[in-house]
Point group: C2
Chain length 438, copies 2
């Protein structure tokens, strides 16, 4: 036989819909929280002028459709059918009642988890990767550069690039690159290219290495490298897996589905929703549709951002304008930040190691629309193990922060209530994180 490896680009995808049937439970639109906020999200600023960014400022890095979505204020934005067809591979993701966990905890709470680990790469990240790859391919981009922490994002963009015909080049935080070799192999299986960051391939990387030759890296450093390469290559654009408004938007399929699934399960009221928070995309995706309903209809669903105690932007950071990266190449974003030179310890939840927090999430927290709590790594992973043995699913280290907060809450309630956990991914490629706890 003559089968031989091919690259994603060689497969030369059509961006037209394939005409496959998509489950009707897959949302047709993304939900935009900006339409319902009592005050607008502070704009991103140009790093030189400190004036609000215009579309032309972002054009070197992003396609026009995503720049529009970054500042959009309409409530619903239609999901292109090609994107929706790919969503249909694993969406709607399951909303599962955690009955065995409830029994173990002896809680009167009814606990549900919304499980994004069913996607082909095992996390929620493809929800935006597919959308970003689609709009880029549609506007003629041939290559995307990006950063990744634990690797879920790099793998997700590589997956999307393979399906939609884009080259993908990834800078992975060295701590995760070294600790989690399977993620690099996953990116490569999809045809992506993965470098450890900081690397000697960029000016930003070389400058960091000159000053800190032994650094374990950070998302801020990796962003600098990926942005630099995209800005200098006319066929390339940059893609960000969290933080920005359009990323939050794409993830809202999670919460929209969860609200319908709760209704179908006979639960019109959701009391408390727990989501893990790194850059904010899984949290926003799950909670923004609930928050929109709170704002429009006066419901009182409590929304809790669960961040690692080792990287506590929401609970310990300052709410101010800061750069998204170390080198100061990105726009200034109004957000809770630990400072763009903050390098968190090499915790297992690599996806939560970011110095800042999504401006939309930050804004919601600053307005008192959402709460935040910090979880110690030991508590998070112990909760993850309890969840795995009760429910049969091993959570991603990131997700265990939401699991831990929800378990702590469920142990204290004395009346029945509905608790929703955002299970952002599975821990199959992060199993070494659990090894000291078993």
């Amino acid at each position: 036989m003559t089968t031989s490896p091919v690259t994603g680009a060689e497969l030369a995808r059509s961006l037209e819909p394939l005409g496959v049937a998509v489950p009707s439970a897959v949302p047709t639109h993304w939900y935009n929280l900006a339409a319902d906020l009592p005050e607008p999200v502070p704009p991103h600023l140009h790093p030189g002028t400190r004036e609000p960014l215009g579309p032309e400022d972002l054009a070197p890095l992003f396609p026009a459709s995503l720049i529009e979505q970054e500042v959009a204020t309409e409530r619903y934005i239609e999901i292109p059918e090609t994107v929706r067809e790919i969503y249909g591979m694993w969406r709607p993701s399951p909303l599962v009642r955690a009955r065995r966990l409830e029994r173990v905890l002896g809680t009167p709470a009814r606990i549900y988890y919304k499980y994004e680990g069913v996607s082909p790469v095992g996390s929620h990240k493809p929800n935006t990767a597919v959308a970003q790859a689609y709009y880029n391919a549609l506007e003629g981009t041939t290559k995307l550069t990006t950063e990744t922490g634990a690797g879920q994002w790099g793998a997700s963009l590589s997956f999307a690039g393979a399906l939609l015909g884009l080259e993908v080049e990834v800078w992975q935080v060295r701590a995760s690159f070294d600790a989690k070799p399977y993620r690099r192999l996953q990116m490569e299986a999809y045809g992506g290219i993965c470098h450890p960051s900081p690397s000697d391939l960029t000016e930003a990387g070389r400058a960091i290495l000159a000053e800190h030759p032994d650094t374990t890296g950070s998302l801020g450093m990796a962003i600098s490298e990926a942005v630099e390469v995209a800005a200098n290559d006319p066929g390339a654009h940059y893609s960000l897996g969290s933080v920005l408004n359009h990323v939050m938007l794409h993830q809202t399929v999670i919460g929209q589905e969860a609200m319908v699934q709760l209704e179908e399960a006979g639960e019109p009221v959701a009391h408390t929703v727990f989501g893990c928070a790194g850059g904010g995309s899984n949290l926003a995706g799950l909670t923004f549709p609930f928050l929109g309903r709170n704002l429009r209809e006066g419901t009182t669903t409590r929304l809790v951002a669960c961040e690692p105690a080792a990287c506590p932007s929401l609970t310990q950071g300052e709410y101010r304008y800061d750069f998204g990266d170390v080198a100061g190449l990105t726009p200034l974003l109004k957000m809770y930040t630990l400072g763009n030179d903050f390098v968190p310890p090499a915790i297992h939840a690599g996806g939560l190691r970011y110095h800042g927090m999504s401006p939309m999430v930050s804004h919601a927290v600053a307005l008192g629309l959402m709460e935040a709590t910090a979880i110690e790594q030991d508590d998070a992973l112990a909760a993850g193990l309890l969840f795995a043995r009760a429910e049969g699913i091993i959570p991603a280290p990131e997700s265990t922060h939401a699991v831990a907060a929800a378990i702590e809450h469920a142990r204290t309630v004395t009346e029945p209530e509905v608790v929703v956990i955002g299970l952002s991914g599975n821990g199959q490629l992060d199993l070494p994180a659990y090894s000291r706890y078993v």
Copy 2:
């Protein structure tokens, strides 16, 4: 907070149904091919007397319900509701039209894949693990021992043990134990205990190590160890992840679902079905319901067992009685075999490294009801990579054998026909297998 790890046994499961809604597409019964075969499957023989086994011969190793299923001849056996509820976590598994793969191949074939990688451990193995753990727990077993190759089976039984309250102790073929550390971590996350095999914990293991201190192990050796421990512990039973008739039975949920899903997709006729074959359980699960229809209704769906060229029991073995293990502790099984002392090379598809083949599959092949083909590892993994980049799912190395055979077939057909691929699992924990090919 006070979360601390707990073992599966401490969670002390109830075996009563939880009362959760199970999707109606999850089968209510397993299908038993024995009811439709033109000649009965040759019985297993006692290794001493060479007489057909009685139930009492198997009682030290298996619970009565599974011994009954091993020789059952009724066409349908009801799935206990507790088992069906757990199936509902991930079943029905998706049947997906591989439109991008079709486009890449330029084939007139309509290719579908039945994807078992959505289970919590990422393969088809939980279909029988949950059933076996359930019947054992119901009859008072407190611990299960087993062997595992690549680790899918050991992880699946650990998963089932965690949900149903059984201790699980696994002997893993050393080649895989060393090459795939994540699988051991997965077993441990579920509370299982995993040893490399051969080990110095059993007489069988010590005897093998005395003769072959550097052996990479084999499933036959690991079975000897697990059987020995179960036979000497009154609270323990043994559990096998493939080969035996009751295991084939439990896996038939795969093919039953696939037939319904094809009908729903407007495909009343399935021309060719490809499944990978190691011990035979994924193959049987997918193909036996189609074969039963061929036998009952005269349909002519072609069924193809795809085995590794490095371990070619069906295409190169002898059809005769042989032991299931190296030490000769198991019953004699009538099967295609390479000899119970055959040690295959350390190929990546650890789940296909078995010297024999399920007696039911062997019987079907011997009667001419099913075909077999052998695939070289390089061709299998190259096909797997092509599939990953076209369809977005990285197949398990075992599954790539079916993918390769199906691709080869699809490239040759000149008329439209329906091809079904059994995608027995995903390759997330087997990514190093692909590293030479990317």
